[in-house]
Symmetry: C2
Subunit: 400 residues, 2 copies
């Protein structure tokens, strides 16, 4: 198949592109490389060194014999978006090409507006390009489990049957997103659902949990092919943070009660899920939602797991102020059967997996910047001062 | 009270500003006057002549002795938005300041993106301005009943109690908006609900039905104070179209089966509802939703009502192609008790009211442009050619 991977220079876009290429698909990556600019703006870096996109694709061709084409541009530029769709004639488009950090979207007004315009307009342009160039293209869009929020009932996959005052209908599952980033994903989902209805587009919305891990069969072939490992307060995720704290001998920082429970999945399962969605496309006019996670853990359970696996003794710092506004103890039971029904074989979060993550951190511990870990963005404030703000070389991409 | 009316030059914003001014509130109108530019872009005009904003406020001061202050600017310009909030120090902000036509948002990609960016970013800027200048300000936001779509269960006011697999929660009512415009209102509602939760803002979302009528106690005082009467295919509403067709001896055009049922209200009730919301503000941190309509009618019922009241014989043209993608026969039962509980006394759609509308059209029949009525925008197409497109003098406001 011909596959266009949007955001193909990012944490998940890059290894997904490699995986699809390894399977023999013809892959084109499109990216505006802004993820690298966010690092410069925040004054942080991936724990694992990241090669340039040029070096990445060159190395991939050397080790695999497969060519991945690269287009650099911005999806909010409609001409760019139409051109890549028209020129690559994809069967499927995998859309990772969005600003994906909740704290980044909560920095201040400028970052909130940037996140929503960047994500929503990029996706609108893409929908129009598909409708006008080839409505048969399958749009595989990355959403987030955070679209649902944390209701006191079971979370279903996109839709729920509601019986109310003696009548019944199947309706979009109510959404309670917890940041301007999560809201942008909800806006996207609503826009795409509508486009499927009026224009007959076909789309799969992958409401993904929190991804952990950095090792995939293809990216492990050479250090130049490695993907990111983010542990900073803005783009990092909690399990990565705990691993970095454990290796460097710092207490694991649990914010709030630690009962915040999240759906999680291994990076290898992200690749498998996207592949399953592509190989089993939505019907024409269908908007379907898959909940893309394999297990759920509370923040405290993750801390205890890292503590248990760490070869050196580790403390857990409890009761720290929570920078987010969120339920710290809540019901969480979410359906995730649709991808399993398509054949997903989960890689679970075993002690071996955590041990592997700790070893990865150990290998790169000279690159750890502990100053990057403390929370800077406060949900309750409409503007947070970043300690790295004065180091911003150029954030002109923020102007919308 | 000190009240800021955003979009105060438009169909409803202007008479609302007058009404609040007549009640003794200190009113400031902010508007970028773009509604007048849409007319020029579409090559249409209000049936009733509309005075300049300068003449409007001058006349109002002459006839009432009340001063309405005017600020011309764009809510997507954060500096403008922060300045008007800081300088006017309002107790309440009534937010009509959005692109409000579904067909306009469905013209093509450019108009869809314009509508969503204009509406969502304007409201984001406003939320941030309130949070940073005075979170005590009550935001009264105009939404639409169209946010709900047409589910097969009763529509509640913003939230619904759902019992699912033995557990119960009260969740945001599922939304099924039917155009990129309606989607923009859904995005706004989600963003504002979130801001109330994390920053403690107070807001009332008025999910308004279709407003009819052009006569209010204040705007009737002088022709210079008149508000709009739109009957064209893009900004007009169905009852206005039927009145114009009846007066000019053309069959009433019912698109599709005519069973499309909508919540409706008299323009005088819009003024009363907004006033009730302002006088009974939401609590700090509260996001509340009122369904703002008084009756519901199907399109065919409206056609038959106009046919019955018209002094001259009128035909109904049935079975015309529907430019929209919508259910043409559907269940519709929506709650609307919250504003009644606050004391709303509805003005119903009587035969006398329709007779008054027909008389209004008769007085201005020399201004009717029958070419403006036929549908131009097709929901099933991603781009519609407007016959007036070549007449566009300047639509630079579309560039976002």
């Amino acid at each position: 198949m011909n596959i266009l991977v949007l955001g193909g220079d990012g944490y998940l876009g890059w290894p997904t592109a490699l995986h699809l290429s390894a399977l023999g698909h013809r892959v084109t990556v499109a990216d505006n490389l802004v993820r690298r600019e966010y690092d410069r703006e925040m004054g942080v870096d991936s724990l694992v060194p990241i090669a340039s996109i040029e070096d990445r694709v060159l190395k991939w061709e050397q080790v695999s014999g497969h060519v991945v084409d690269v287009r650099v541009g911005n999806l909010t530029d409609a001409t760019f978006t139409y051109n890549i769709v028209a020129e690559t004639q994809p069967d499927a488009i995998v859309h990772f090409g969005e600003q994906r950090s909740a704290p980044y979207s909560m920095i201040d007004r400028e970052h909130a507006v940037y996140t929503q315009v960047n994500n929503v307009v990029g996706t609108l342009n893409l929908m129009y390009a598909i409708a006008e160039i080839n409505p048969d293209i399958h749009l595989v869009k990355l959403g987030t489990m955070g679209e649902y929020g944390y209701p006191n009932i079971d979370i279903e996959e996109g839709f729920i049957e509601i019986t109310h005052k003696g009548r019944t209908d199947v309706l979009p599952y109510p959404k309670q997103p917890g940041s301007f980033y999560h809201l942008s994903k909800v806006h996207d989902s609503a826009n795409i659902m509508f486009a499927c209805r009026v224009w007959g587009l076909r789309s799969t919305d992958l409401n993904q949990g929190i991804v952990y891990g950095q090792s995939t069969p293809e990216s492990d072939l050479d250090p130049v092919l490695a993907t990111r490992f983010d542990y900073d307060a803005v783009f990092g995720t909690v399990l990565n943070r705990f691993c970095v704290q454990a290796v460097t001998g710092h207490p694991l920082t649990v914010y709030g009660a630690g009962g915040q429970t999240r759906g999680m999945l291994n990076i290898r399962d992200t690749l498998a899920c996207v592949t399953l969605a592509i190989e089993n496309p939505a019907d024409q006019g269908e908007f379907r939602v898959f909940n893309q996670f394999t297990e759920s853990f509370s923040v405290m359970q993750m801390a205890e797991l890292v503590q248990r696996v760490s070869p050196t003794p580790v403390d857990i710092a409890e009761g720290l102020a929570n920078p987010r506004v969120e339920h710290e103890e809540h019901y969480f039971h979410a359906a995730n059967t649709k991808l399993l029904d398509l054949g997903l074989q989960p890689h679970l979060l075993t002690e071996d997996v955590v041990a592997g993550m700790l070893e990865l951190v150990e290998r790169h511990r000279d690159r750890v910047d502990l100053n990057a870990i403390a929370p800077t963005v406060q949900w309750r404030k409409s503007a947070s001062t970043l300690k790295t703000a004065s180091e911003v070389p150029d954030a002109s991409f923020l102007v919308v």
